[in-house]
Symmetry: C2
Subunit: 219 residues, 2 copies
């Protein structure tokens, strides 16, 4: 998924598989330990290669980080694009609900996305500039303009689109990002399929103003 088999092969065939193993290990460790906290030695060890092998395949730790993040956003983009391609002509409210469910399901399978964005959102830095300009802004623009149209037709509450955006990106992924805490506090793994479904239902019901099943009306 992160390799590009279409690119002209200037390298040995075995290099692609090695590159992908390094990228997968790098993504996990960068997400868990942050850029500074992850060590190239541990990435190499998890990928089953020597530490200098990383500097052969990637110019630096920084370039390895960017390549790993590229792969993650490529996967998210492919997921959302596949959903939208299958829904041409469907009304916008239904489309929005299904895309939001896809986003939540993706966040459960790949909590690295939210973790890495959170880690880079400290003071300033080149990585957050690159992250926002390259990957986040396109998603933000399409999401907020969709929310504005949904609010205009009364499908979602009349909350300014940037706030709705951050309510969704917080309410959706957080339970999966904090899964180790959730296991300790609540005694269940939120990333199990039943939990993901319950959580997606809850977030969608909340956003689209549906009161959950069965509760008595407020006095």
């Amino acid at each position: 998924m992160a390799s590009s088999p279409s690119a002209a092969r200037r390298t040995r065939p075995s290099a692609d598989a090695t590159r992908d193993r390094i990228l997968a290990a790098a993504l996990d460790l960068f997400a868990d330990r942050s850029f500074e906290g992850a060590t190239t030695r541990e990435i190499a060890h998890r990928a089953g290669v020597s530490q200098p092998s990383l500097n052969y395949h990637f110019r630096s730790k920084d370039e390895l980080w960017r390549a790993a993040v590229d792969g993650l956003f490529a996967e998210l983009g492919a997921t959302l694009r596949a959903r939208l391609d299958g829904l041409r002509g469907v009304d916008e409210v239904t489309t929005a609900e299904l895309v939001i469910r896809d986003f939540i399901t993706f966040s459960a399978a790949h909590p690295q996305l939210h973790r890495i964005i959170t880690q880079e959102c400290k003071g300033e830095g080149e990585r957050i500039d690159w992250l926002v300009d390259t990957h986040v802004r396109p998603l933000y623009d399409v999401t907020t303009s969709l929310f504005s149209r949904l609010a205009a037709q009364g499908a979602v509450p009349d909350i300014p689109a940037p706030f709705l955006y951050y309510i969704l990106t917080g309410a959706g992924p957080t339970i999966f990002v904090l899964a180790p805490e959730c296991r300790r506090l609540a005694g269940f793994d939120p990333r199990r399929p039943e939990s993901v479904a319950t959580h997606a239902d809850a977030v969608v019901d909340l956003l689209f103003g549906r009161r959950g099943a069965g509760g008595p009306p407020a006095p």
Copy 2:
């Protein structure tokens, strides 16, 4: 707030002020760079002391981290306790709304809370065990039992309490934790008082099922 002036003074008076400056610097840097990413040299530099001074006041980097986190949760606890003390006899729905607003306001002023919890929620580790057992579980227990009662009387949607808990802890603080991204994407600082109020209104309206206006968009 983190020093204990009531404790028997076995140290010089100047030590308390130094300790507090170290703790404040440590909290900021641990929150921004994670435990591994923050260096004791930079914490010392920001606090205006030498690096070995940290090892005089705290046994180790690990103990410094715990002391900084203790201070943060003490401040949150004091904030919530003050609110609850002022609301004896008030109905539970009103109490819940005000406490949630306090939590969101606190998260805007102290995004370190959510950042540190997120950072420690990787695989496993002694720090997450300590964090949950010492500080998070009491808050979780009181919050989820409150949510259960509110759901039973129809004040909030009928969503299982653990999911409601993570929807709140995600939807509330995330916009402040991702403030550097928000500034770049939406062009405003979410931590400004008007934005905090708009966001708190939006989250409360959503949780309590009001379709109300979220207020004017921030400039």
